[in-house]
Symmetry: C2
Subunit: 340 residues, 2 copies
């Protein structure tokens, strides 16, 4: 457990306010008082927050992380990793959600809170390249996620095509031939699902199989309800697959719920693979096989990129970085798999 | 869909930067330009963000919400509701997580970012009344959650004892007599689980039943893993219950996973009730009966309290407000229940 301001105050025999004044280098503290507090700080190994130090450099010590939704556990888990990575550089993280709205993404990327934040990590859904090239805010920006841009910003994302191919290869290897893709946004070349759908297609081709477009289901969103209704729609049109590759774990969870309601077993009747490796997938009555992006690496690379640019000096060219991922096999494709 | 800065810029035939300058009332805009942009704003019904207006009042337009963890979907869902409630008052929300650390709760409550935020909504776990009475930061503070304090701050929380009693009453009504409580923090009178455990005890007494303390399991935390290991511990010591009342939904989810691994059916062998009504509970292969706190009301009351205090005038006495809740019956107690 960390040492608190209060611990320091009680050791030094002064008020918390006085300790705070010393830590923040405020002028109205006598040298004697300062020495007394400093001694308590040294004895207890107290580590003050560095807001004051940031402020002296004309910074706030705050970076923003803007994600499409708090409600998606993937972003909640990623946000936790970003908070940890930022803390190692003495940065606090302001988490913002864009609610998947283009308007909110624009506001955030245009720096509507430039007076508060030193830099921004943004996971966009709707922004276009021209929105980013039109950006006038000077705070460093790092992009996350699958959208690809021809804009001069660092971009951190796993290789979504390769990861999707690995998921589909796993299903083909288990003997499945009718493999559905749930969660497409057909016709929108740069939308998030595009790369994973491409992986689904490419892996079929590589295996000499025909990818059946009748097994691709478009959804409105990325949630459990979208997965449940996509699965129902597919079954209702008589297109029962023997396996499902879902755009993400939430869609997979929704699809599995529909399969349960229809009396179909997972993986006996239909095998299911998700994407994201959210903790929820490890605890269902059928645990979920999924692609697990290295969230710690994503967070670390994003924060390190921002910090490097904030440090000034010769800023490197915008970089594209690809953290790792792995396929985690669980019960939804192989009943005997017991890994969590 | 909202109207964007870009829409206004394109209607007015000017750059986004110019629109931003007008919206923020910056001086270096010609009256002609200002009129042109204002006309486009009026025609499109664009609603500018009010950061600039807040700044003129010496405010930042930002309130902070500090929760114990992003990873718990209850807090993620609550955060979404707070963001919505705050937006109605033109406030932006900075979401912070205290990681369940006393040190971080202290830092947040002491106003370590007072230069950035106008007010704070805090859901504490470890803070004590004396920590709050020692608080020197002048920003309004509203408390959420089950911890009760004798400190002069608004506090928003559902009636946890009554809600827990309703959950246990439901199980007793179904004929269950060996009802376990998972997630206690025994001996810590003011810890979060205390009130729900009291409800468990009181409802047994009201029904003329003996509450068996051997069925109370202490956990380290509030997550799925804690529920899974608590359930395993209870079964391992031969204390198989016929029902479980879990401190929260995550503990319930973990407990159900252990029951599945042990070959026990829910609700056939063991009925399970959770607390929080997180979306995950509606999608498992067995949907989860739970206490559903009114998250929108909690968020609205918290934001309204802050806004009222920020508005100044005669500040009301600190208030204790109790938003509503309801029991939602699903498959984990009544197999035929199909409600989501």
């Amino acid at each position: 457990m960390g040492v608190s301001l209060k611990d320091v105050a009680s050791r030094a025999g002064v008020s918390i306010k006085t300790v705070s004044n010393v830590v923040n280098n405020y002028p109205h503290v006598t040298p004697q008082m300062r020495a007394k507090v400093q001694q308590a700080i040294d004895e207890l190994g107290y580590r003050p927050n560095l807001t004051a130090r940031h402020l002296r450099k004309g910074r706030t010590g705050i970076i923003a992380l803007a994600v499409p939704e708090f409600g998606n556990p993937y972003f909640a888990e990623l946000a936790g990793a970003v908070v940890d990575a930022a803390a190692r550089h003495d940065y606090t993280v302001l988490v913002d959600h864009t609610a998947g709205l283009r308007e909110k993404e624009l506001l955030v990327s245009q720096g509507f809170r430039a007076h508060v934040i030193d830099g921004l990590i943004l996971s966009p859904i709707h922004l276009e390249t021209e929105d980013l090239t039109a950006r006038t805010d000077s705070a460093p920006l790092v992009l996350l996620g699958e959208r690809e841009y021809e804009a001069p910003y660092d971009h951190i994302a796993i290789d979504n095509v390769a990861a999707a191919r690995e998921a589909v290869r796993h299903l083909i290897g288990l003997g499945h031939r009718r493999i559905a893709f749930l969660g497409s946004r057909t016709g929108r070349e740069r939308q998030p699902a595009h790369l994973r759908l491409r992986g689904w297609r490419e892996e079929h081709a590589a295996a000499g199989l025909e990818a059946d477009d009748a097994l691709v289901v478009v959804t409105d969103g990325y949630g459990r309800e979208d997965g449940a209704s996509a699965m129902a729609a597919l079954l209702d049109r008589g297109g029962r697959p023997d396996a499902v590759f879902a755009y993400n774990d939430l869609i997979a969870v929704g699809a599995m719920r529909t399969l349960t309601e229809r009396g179909l077993s997972v993986p006996g009747d239909v095998a299911v693979v998700g994407f994201d490796d959210i903790e929820e997938g490890r605890y269902g009555s059928t645990t979920l096989t999924t692609i697990s992006p290295d969230k710690e690496a994503i967070a670390r690379l994003a924060v390190d990129s921002l910090v490097e640019r904030l440090a000034g000096g010769t800023a490197p060219e915008p970089r594209r970085q690809r953290p790792g991922y792995r396929l985690v096999v669980r019960e939804s494709t192989t009943r005997s798999a017991r890994s969590r």
